[in-house]
């Protein structure tokens, strides 16, 4: 093998270090063998240039793909109750955003007065405070549950610690806060 081929192979071996660890352990040696065989087969200068362009493109695409896949594997799957609570939370804050958008359109685009009914104290409290706070409780409860499960799983807390305890820890002050706000 010519010295410039060896330099290319050396660079390729170094560049392979950017692949995820698990992938490298499994396929690094194979990839180097294959690259070496391809280099030997590309015998003319034109073939070498074509090979280098092709190999560079292949390297960049594959490197990105494998790193993204490794990243996806590293992130634990979202528990179903987190997904449920997120959707529920979003549903509960939706009226607030709908009303805000409606008011903005009325005021700034149509130059009309905002319907009085929307600004009545009882209605306002429901969509601006009660529903968003409820959403906050639901989402943070699910988040705390997930966190506590994670902590219990990794042995930093006793697994006997109840989820109900977490809920109370977070929920009671929030309920108090809502009550005080409503009063």
């Amino acid at each position: 093998m010519a010295s410039h081929d060896q330099s290319v192979l050396y660079c390729y071996q170094k560049l392979l270090k950017l692949y995820p660890e698990a992938y490298r352990q499994e396929y690094e040696a194979e990839m180097v063998y294959t690259m070496e065989a391809m280099l030997v087969d590309a015998d003319t200068p034109a073939a070498k240039w074509q090979f280098l362009v092709r190999a560079s493109r292949d390297y960049l695409v594959s490197l990105t793909r494998q790193n993204v896949l490794a990243l996806e594997d590293a992130v634990p799957a979202t528990p179903p109750y987190i997904q449920r609570s997120s959707k529920l939370g979003l549903g509960l804050v939706a009226p607030f955003f709908i009303v805000c958008t409606y008011n903005c359109i009325n005021q700034y685009l149509l130059h009309q007065a905002v319907p009085y009914a929307w600004l009545e104290a009882k209605t306002w409290i429901i969509y601006c405070i009660v529903l968003p706070l409820l959403a906050f409780i639901i989402v943070t409860t699910a988040g705390t549950r997930s966190l506590s499960e994670y902590v219990c799983k990794h042995g930093q807390l006793s697994s006997s610690r109840s989820i109900v305890y977490d809920w109370l820890l977070l929920g009671v002050p929030l309920v108090l806060l809502i009550t005080l706000t409503l009063l």
């Binding site: 194979e30 063998y33 292949d58 594959s62």
Partner: protein
């Protein structure tokens, strides 16, 4: 049934003749596709990884002591999948033959 990506199908097709190591697979894929599919090591081993994880190909126990390259062969599931894919393509080709394909520029 979702069709396999083109590269994965080509690898299975290349392995249907005999077990091969990586570079041989690349050459066979290029040959089978008439030079249209030219794989690099990244694309090849990325697909091999996926196919192995799906149980469609398996590593062949090394027979040559000095040759450290790993060879791959189709698993039973791989054969079944390849036959399904080929049946699909056969149906598509037979349908295409029945249809009149307009010539370019018409």
């Amino acid at each position: 049934m979702d069709l396999l990506p083109q590269v994965s199908f080509s690898i299975l097709f290349a392995l249907s003749l005999q077990p091969r190591h990586g570079y041989e697979i690349m050459q066979q894929v290029e040959h089978d596709s008439g030079g249209r599919i030219k794989l690099g090591p990244g694309a090849l081993y990325g697909s091999i990884k996926q196919l192995r994880e799906a149980g469609l190909i398996e590593e062949l126990a090394s027979v040559h002591g000095a040759d450290r390259r790993r060879s791959y062969k189709l698993s039973l599931a791989g054969w079944a999948r390849l036959n399904e894919e080929l049946a699909y393509y056969k149906t598509t080709v037979s349908l295409a033959r029945k249809r009149t394909v307009p010539e370019q520029g018409v």
